[in-house]
Symmetry: C2
């Protein structure tokens, strides 16, 4: 039986050991949702970078760049952080540099782990099936918001934990239990529950209602973004998968 853990904020990540675990990064609003979308739309490779300086340097070397800070596109970027921007026509077969307020920091933090995948509601069942097949312990790492707890990542962690517990995983953790409790409340009427979240209110003031709804769509993607060294690729396109 393999174990599930949920880390509710990147600042709590060093509470966890990493040996023989698969780390599952989630940032529902929006990094991992966007990244899932990118690969679903045929992206070949993603280079997550922490700072805008790194992003700008790679832009000058000829890479396509998507970058936002506090929900707004930075001036030199080719793309903002809307999932609707990353169409197959624009990114199919391409390599893209990506930097966001929250999500890419978490990705860089998770590089300590040997095995790291990225998840969102869009690919939750695909991710759950993969984890059930791998038979390793799972640590779900919530990106949170500005280093703190956020509801949307926690309910995702609850939803994924619930699926894994139905597939021979076990848990003895308060953060897993509480995430499942919150997910059970949320799933009764997800579109209403979203409205209670801090990020909903913040993103609504930026006019992002449609994008928020998109980020809670369940099972519309079949890709599994995986971190390989400094890059992210689609696990299913790796020959040995």
């Amino acid at each position: 039986m393999n174990k599930i853990e949920v880390c509710l904020s990147p600042k709590l990540f060093d509470n966890y050991t990493l040996e023989n675990k698969i780390v599952v990064i989630v940032d529902v609003l929006r990094a991992t949702t966007i990244i899932t979308t990118m690969f679903q739309n045929g992206l070949y490779k993603l280079i997550p970078v922490k700072t805008l300086d790194e992003a700008k340097e790679l832009k000058e070397k000829g890479f396509l760049v998507a970058a936002e800070r506090n929900g707004k596109k930075v001036d030199f970027a080719d793309f903002d952080n809307s999932p609707y921007t990353f169409t197959p026509e624009k990114i199919g077969g391409k390599t893209l540099v990506y930097s966001t307020t929250n999500g890419t920091n978490t990705i860089n933090l998770a590089k300590k782990a040997k095995s790291v995948i990225l998840a969102s509601f869009l690919n939750i069942t695909e991710v759950s099936n993969y984890l059930s097949h791998e038979q390793k312990d799972v640590l779900i790492l919530c990106s949170g918001w500005q280093g703190d707890f956020c509801t949307e990542d926690s309910i995702f962690a609850g939803a994924l934990s619930e699926k894994l517990l139905q597939n021979n995983f076990i848990s003895n953790s308060d953060s897993v239990n509480s995430s499942i409790e919150l997910w059970n409340l949320a799933k009764k009427d997800l579109s209403e529950y979203i409205k209670t979240m801090y990020q909903y209110k913040r993103l609504m003031t930026l006019g992002m209602e449609k994008i928020i709804g998109y980020c809670f769509k369940i099972d519309v993607a079949e890709v599994i973004p995986v971190l390989k060294g400094d890059y992210i690729i689609d696990l299913k396109k790796i020959p040995q998968f």
Copy 2:
């Protein structure tokens, strides 16, 4: 209108500003429950210390010492960490040195704030009434377990937040909302809910069933332990209160 925030682990404390706020420390299992009990039983002054070396040094200077690590009394201590040990006969009017695995670390961390009180289910209404009277912003600091989230402190934070929201406080925070959600689930049958907690299972293996139940008793104390410099005293015994 004053604001409520909930910090779910000491490791998240630096996400919060402290100006003009009252920090409310909670460690349901068991530091703040024990401290509430001590003052309820007439303790004059408590000296929380982080390390066992400090505790031992003060013991050698003639102080009474209560100290535990991982739920077990350390050898040189006069008291273990059971609330039943601190009887009025033994501690009434006395000064006591106190060191625990989790709780006293949180107390030392909170010393950065100007105004710090200690709360537990035992004195929750007393604390809520005091905070409602003070008209300052409130930051509830959960001690958690080994630097991570724990359910018992979160549901306490939810219970206290619920009371404050009925008294003109406001909140726009995911950790407040989620704590209230968990408290609403827990309060339906608190004695059953306790059994889902990691700490319940851990403390049961140490034979502490009776003590666990004690820690969730609501409104059996009228004291408000407050941090004044390096000491904790009962706020109600300060002349200007």
